[in-house]
């Protein structure tokens, strides 16, 4: 069974700025991670391979917390084709699975790889990932995605990106903001916008080509959209009062956002083509933090119309509003997984703010984190992990936790704060 994966990404324009990179540290994995060996890939091309494909795949699988990769030093042989494999070499070092691969370069990079079950001595699966040479790391992540999916039944989300806001303090004591996009492993950070004025609430377009955010650069908040590949951007709103929380609809045609131009903060819908603005909620309380259900038929949002912030649902066809969360005094900033069932949110318990998952079907709320100032949860497009921001001393750092609570890791920056992470949608096509 062969599978072909194509990277949809356009190459980003790389900034020459030296940007602090996130380092990912797994703080807790599962109890018995599966042993897997990624043998170094063969390179069929002039010169040397642009990246160490096997090493990138190895790191991805290790970062999931579910796999324990075999060190290259322990490998008794380094097969690059089926004929070279001696299963006993791998059984001897207690390897459960083996991945081999070959990279060739034509107009694009092509990686042919195969996954072997060492215990049973058979090839389980072979596949191919194609992409441009400048996206070599993403091609490697695409291989990791395919292997992860074959072994766990869940599509991998390694060939994805993160957007986040980093804040450093200038010598004059003033904060300096940078809107940054990086690969999901924290590598290749690129600054999209920087300045002394706050940048907030970044979010992705459903095709992964654009981002929207709030910037105070005009000394007042305004919502912008920006194309990643070209840097081209457009101001969408600049009303009196709040201009906040832009989130693209799943079909990409409109954006839900928050404005307070008519009094108190309410949810509005902006048609991105006609620029027509429709007011969805109308209440003197705070209505904010909209997020789309994956079917695009309803929105979840935060409102304190009941006295304290809780999650509500707005149905677009009828305008009907119903309260969703009841447990605890504070539930806010919901993000819905692709399955339309798991909702990551900020939940207050005993005066501490944690990341929790609320199951829309069973209505059960599960707290995932133990830290006390957690915010801005964003769910990986495969639904497996929640990335969020938390405080470590005076700094804000990113953390990630499995939706089932099993695996945890942190993504500290070398300096400054990192906040408001938003995980991209899937960027590959099978």
């Amino acid at each position: 069974m062969a599978q072909r994966i194509t990277l949809l990404l356009l190459s980003l324009i790389y900034s020459s700025l030296a940007v602090a990179q996130l380092e990912i540290q797994v703080t807790r994995g599962i109890d018995n991670p599966t042993s897997i060996a990624i043998a170094p890939f063969a390179w069929d091309g002039l010169g040397t391979s642009p990246v160490d494909f096997a090493q990138i795949i190895d790191s991805d699988l290790a970062r999931s917390g579910q796999f324990s990769p075999v060190s290259r030093r322990d490998m008794l042989s380094l097969p690059t084709s089926k004929e070279d494999i001696f299963y006993r070499d791998w059984r001897a070092i207690a390897t459960r699975y083996l991945v081999i691969g070959r990279v060739s370069k034509g107009t694009q990079l092509r990686v042919d790889f195969a996954l072997h079950d060492v215990e049973r001595g058979i090839e389980l699966f072979s596949g191919q990932v194609v992409g441009s040479e400048s996206e070599a790391r993403m091609v490697a992540h695409g291989v990791a995605d395919a292997i992860y999916e074959k072994l766990t039944g869940i599509p991998g989300a390694f060939a994805t990106r993160l957007i986040y806001v980093s804040v450093t303090r200038n010598p004059d004591g003033k904060d300096f903001y940078r809107l940054t996009v990086a690969d999901a492993d924290g590598r290749r950070p690129i600054v999209l916008l920087e300045g002394r004025d706050p940048i907030l609430a970044p979010s992705w377009s459903p095709d992964g080509r654009e981002v929207a955010y709030v910037s105070f650069e005009s000394s007042r908040p305004a919502i912008y959209r920006q194309v990643l590949a070209t840097g081209e951007r457009e101001q969408l709103t600049n009303f009196q009062g709040l201009n906040n929380s832009p989130v693209w609809s799943p079909d990409g045609r409109s954006m839900a956002l928050v404005l307070s131009k008519d009094g108190s903060p309410d949810i509005y819908l902006l048609d991105l083509e006609t620029k027509a603005l429709t007011r969805l909620t109308r209440h003197y309380a705070i209505d904010t933090e909209p997020t789309w259900m994956p079917d695009g038929k309803s929105l979840l949002f935060t409102s304190d119309r009941g006295g304290r912030p809780q999650i509500y649902r707005y149905e677009l066809a009828t305008g009907k509003i119903e309260r969703v969360t009841f447990e605890g005094r504070y539930n806010a900033r919901a993000r819905v997984a692709e399955d339309g069932r798991n909702v990551a949110l900020v939940h207050q318990r005993d005066g501490r703010f944690h990341i929790a998952v609320f199951d829309l079907v069973t209505e059960r709320l599960t707290v995932l984190t133990e830290t006390s100032l957690d915010e801005s949860p964003s769910i990986a497009p495969n639904g497996s992990l929640v990335i969020y921001a938390t405080k470590r001393g005076e700094r804000s750092v990113l953390g990630a936790v499995a939706v089932d609570g099993g695996v945890k890791f942190s993504l500290p920056a070398r300096s400054g704060s990192v906040q408001e992470p938003a995980w991209s949608p899937m960027l590959t096509k099978q």
């Binding site: 904060d175 706050p198 907030l200 609430a201 105070f216 000394s219 007042r220 908040p221 009062g241 709040l242 906040n244 929380s245 928050v258 307070s260 108190s264 903060p265 705070i286 904010t288 933090e289 935060t302 912030p309 504070y330 806010a332 900033r333 900020v346 207050q348 703010f353 100032l373 915010e375 801005s376 405080k391 001393g393 005076e394 906040q419 408001e420």
Partner: protein, 186 residues
């Protein structure tokens, strides 16, 4: 010839008339001069009185201005003594008595002045950033509404919320948080 004679007579008549008129004109001139002198004296007197009055008025005006300046300085001192930052309780946009007293000082100054103000709402770091933006706005609006109720025209007040961005005290704990839950008047 006849014509010449007639002309000579006419000339004599004109000359006579001129002499008579010269006599009566001298008398009128004297009379006018006296009148003018009297008028001038009166005018001078009036001008002096007016000048005195003007001086008095100016003095009064200067005193009023000084008083106004003094009053404004007093209002400015009071406003500055009241401080330009008003603090709030956790998750609350209610104005404390201290905040009201401080805002009153700024209102008094604004009523004596024509300047505009900008109210910047802030929150502490707890809770979500986007909800905190709304909470910061609610705080700024609470100050604005109180000022408007006290007589300041709404168009002279601009409000903006920074939520939990731009803290004045970094770090966690109530000692920092209480400094960040604020509205700043600028």
């Amino acid at each position: 010839m006849t014509t010449k004679n007639t002309l000579g007579k006419a000339a004599a008549v004109v000359l006579m008339a001129a002499l008579v008129s010269a006599c009566s004109s001298n008398a009128a001139k004297e009379e006018a001069a006296a009148q003018a002198a009297a008028e001038q004296a009166a005018a001078e007197q009036a001008a002096a009185a007016e000048a005195a009055e003007q001086r008095a008025k100016e003095k009064e005006k200067a005193m009023q201005m000084a008083e106004k300046r003094e009053e404004k300085r007093r209002l400015m001192d009071a406003a500055s003594a009241a401080g330009s930052v008003f603090y709030f309780d956790y998750d609350s946009s209610s104005l404390s008595d201290d905040a009201r007293a401080a805002i009153d000082a700024h209102v008094a100054l604004m009523m004596a002045d024509s300047g505009n103000v900008r109210l910047e709402g802030h929150t502490d770091e707890r809770g979500t950033r986007e909800y905190n933006l709304a909470l910061g706005e609610r705080r700024a609006n609470a100050v604005r509404d109180y000022m408007v109720a006290s007589g300041v025209p709404a168009y002279r007040i601009e409000t903006i919320s920074y939520g939990e961005e731009n803290p004045v005290a970094y770090g966690s704990g109530e000692s920092n948080w209480m400094k960040n839950r604020r509205v700043e008047i600028k």
